[in-house]
Structures are given as C-alpha cells and as structure tokens.
C-alpha cells in the first residue's frame, strides 16, 4: 500500500516537472533566438550604440577608438550574459573596466547611461524585427527585459563598488598620512593637524600622540591646528581631552594656530579652553616650549 503511494507521488512529481519544463523552455528558446539576432546584427547595432553614446556626450574623457573598443567588448559580454544567464564574467569585466576608467574621471551616470543606451538600442532593434508579430514581440521582450535589467544592474553595481573601494583606499591612505608626531628638539614634539577631524581621527590622533610622548620621553608638545578649517563642540572637546591625557603622562601641551574664526566659534559655543595653553602661531608655540624646557635660542653673533 505504502509502496504504491510513493510511486504515484513520484510519477506525480515527474508530471509536474515535465509541465514546468515545457513552460520554461519557451523563454529560453526565445532568448536563444534573441541572442542569434544580436549576433547577426552585431556590427550594425554596435555602431548605432557608439553613435548614440557620442550623441549623448557620454564618456567624453575617452577617445572615439577607445569607446569603440570598449563598446565591442561590452556588447560581446552583454550578449554572452544574455545567452548563458550567468553574470559573473560580466561582473568581473565591469569591475575590470571600472578599474581602468575611474582614474580617467568617468562618472557613475555615464556608465549607467551607456548600459541603458545599449538596452534601448537592442530593444529598438527587436521592435523593428518583430513589428509584424506583436505577440511574438511581447514574448521576446518578456524574456529580454528582466535579463537586460539585471545586466544593467550588475554593471552599475560593479562600477559603484569599485568606486567605493577606491574611496575607501584613499581614506585609509589619508588617515595614515595625516597624523605625524614629530620631534623637533630633545623632549619637544610637534603635532601639526591638517584637515577635518572626526571622532575616529581624533581618537587615533590622541593615541598616536600619547605613544609618541612615551617613546620620545617628551615634556612639551605643540599641537598646531592652523590647518584645521572648522571646529565644533565635539572636536574642541577632543582637543581638551588630548591635552588632559598628555598632562597625565607628564607632558605640557601648547595649542597654536587657532584662527580668529575658530576662536570666535569656541567662545560663542562656550567650550572651556581654560585648561589649555594657547599661543598665536607655531613659531610662538615652539619658542614658549623652548622656554619651558630651559632652552635659549640666540644668533651666534649675539652670543659672542
């Protein structure tokens, strides 16, 4: 009894499978026809596409020949993705392409634009081919549109991801470069800060400074913020914290280069800078630091 039930179940499943196959065969058949059509008209469609690209003034950073060469490979990968319905190759190609063209200043809208143009060009050619058979056209478009959209999506996402990767890389580089702790004299460090300070960078700055104080056995630190464009409550508080933490390690901090605008802002928002030693510019700061350390700098002639 049980056996028979299973057999019926199995045959039932087979029936279902068979009917699914029939259903799914139709679009893939259509897709094959579509791919054949695109292969046949490769030269003409490609040229039309390139024409449309220059008409729309996209990819102005590239020469005509370059556009044509890229367009050919994009076209071929496009058709291949349509045919195989796998997008990995295309994704890799998109990433590779992005790597090459991002440094030349190609924008996201251009990349998305050309892919959408190709989609439109191909769709037009389909309209032209099947204009007499409206039903067939509809079915072809049913097969074409999802695949085409997916391709556009893949290329755009690939480009944006590559771009973001580049940006991340640059941010990292800036972060590493931007916090030098320099020794100018025995036991005197300077820390020139340039650019925007966000909480993460402020933290890193403080850590690096504290480590620098320890390894250089510094007694005085001059923090120069001439290169800091703007300062808000958070950043000011970070600065105060850095000063206090340095003091806990036995180092005196002198802050230099507060611009009039920043001074105004700080007074207006009421940040307590009473704990800070401030001097107008870096030179004054270093001179004061030298006094604190007991140095006296004078011209050789004067000393004689």
């Amino acid at each position: 009894m049980a056996k028979r039930e299973t057999t019926t179940k199995v045959s039932g499943a087979r029936n279902n499978q068979a009917s699914e196959l029939v259903l799914s065969e139709a679009p893939s058949e259509l897709l094959r026809e579509l791919v054949a059509h695109l292969r046949q008209n490769r030269t003409q469609l490609r040229e039309e596409w390139v024409g449309r690209i220059s008409e729309a003034r996209l990819l102005t950073a590239m020469t005509k020949e370059e556009i044509f060469a890229e367009a050919t490979s994009v076209y071929d990968s496009y058709v291949e993705a349509l045919e195989t319905e796998t997008y990995e190759d295309l994704q890799n190609y998109a990433r590779n392409l992005s790597e090459r063209i991002i440094p030349r200043g190609v924008e996201t809208h251009e990349v998305v634009g050309i892919v959408l143009l190709l989609r439109d060009v191909l769709a037009r050619s389909l309209f032209a081919k099947y204009q007499t058979d409206f039903k067939k056209l509809n079915r072809i478009l049913d097969a074409y549109e999802p695949a085409a959209n997916r391709i556009a999506n893949t290329v755009a996402v690939g480009f944006v991801q590559e771009r973001e990767r580049v940006i991340r890389q640059q941010q990292e580089a800036i972060r590493e470069l931007s916090t030098p702790v320099l020794q100018v004299r025995e036991r005197l460090l300077i820390l020139p800060i340039i650019g925007v300070i966000d909480p993460q960078r402020a933290r890193q700055l403080t850590e690096q400074l504290l480590r620098g104080i320890r390894t250089n056995r510094a007694k005085v630190v001059v923090i120069d913020i001439t290169g800091v464009a703007a300062m808000d409550v958070t950043v000011a508080n970070h600065l105060v914290q850095t000063v206090e933490a340095s003091r806990l390690l036995g180092a005196t901090v002198i802050v230099t280069g507060l611009s009039p605008e920043i001074a105004q802002t700080l007074v207006t928002i009421g940040v307590d800078l009473g704990k800070m030693n401030t001097v107008g510019d870096l030179q004054g700061g270093i001179e004061q630091a030298e006094r604190l350390l007991g140095y006296k700098v004078m011209a050789v002639a004067e000393a004689r």
Binding site: T206, E207, R214, K219, E244, L249, G250
Partner: protein
C-alpha cells in the same frame, strides 16, 4: 596586596605592583600620610606603571592623597600612567586636576628636585 613605601632622601616612593583593591588603596593612603609625618618628607612619588586599569575610586583616592599630602606641606607626583589608561581616564572625566604628573620615576624625581630648589 600591600604597597611598599620606600624612603629616598626627602622623597617617599610608593610603587604599585598590581591592580589594587579598595582596601589596599585606603591602606596606602593611611601609610603614606603617616610616613610623610614621620620622616618629614618633602615629596611623594606614586608610581602606577603596573596599573593597566584605573577605576574612578583609585583615581579619586590618588587625588585625595595628593591634596592631603599638600596640606602637610609636601608635594606629590603621580608617575607612569600608561597611554591607554590616560586616554580612558580622560574619557571618563577623571583628570587628576591639581595633581602633578610625570612620565616615569626618573622624571618624577627630577620634577621634585626642581621644585625643592625653587622653594629653597
């Protein structure tokens, strides 16, 4: 764990060997005060190099010790605060205000000797 207090000329040196319990800190406070009185010390160095965490009680006690010793006419220096500890303390608002600090024992001693010179 007891904190040993060493006498070096006019200076007392208390070196933390490990993290301390609240009771140990209380003992340290009492011990330091007594010794300052007994030896007529002019300076005290508290070396916290071995501490890799500093809670608010420890920080407050250190501050109190420094202020009490000042009332006895002596000077206190806290030395050897680790960079990470300093950063954490500042973030928690424990900044030991009004207390002298130095990088390590050597610096602390140099600071005190300088102070004595100025006073004399």
């Amino acid at each position: 764990m007891e904190v040993p207090i060493l006498k070096q000329g006019q200076v007392l040196i208390a070196t933390f060997q490990a993290a301390l319990s609240d009771a140990d800190l209380e003992n340290l406070r009492r011990g330091l005060l007594q010794q300052v009185v007994r030896f007529r010390s002019r300076g005290v160095i508290v070396d916290v190099t071995a501490m890799d965490v500093m809670d608010s009680f420890a920080s407050r006690t250190l501050r109190e010790i420094a202020h009490m010793i000042r009332l006895r006419g002596a000077e206190t220096v806290i030395v050897g605060i680790q960079p990470e500890v300093a950063f954490a303390m500042v973030q928690l608002g424990m900044t030991l205000e009004g207390v002298a600090t130095a990088l390590d024992l050597e610096e602390g001693l140099a600071y005190l000797i300088e102070r004595f010179k100025n006073i004399d």
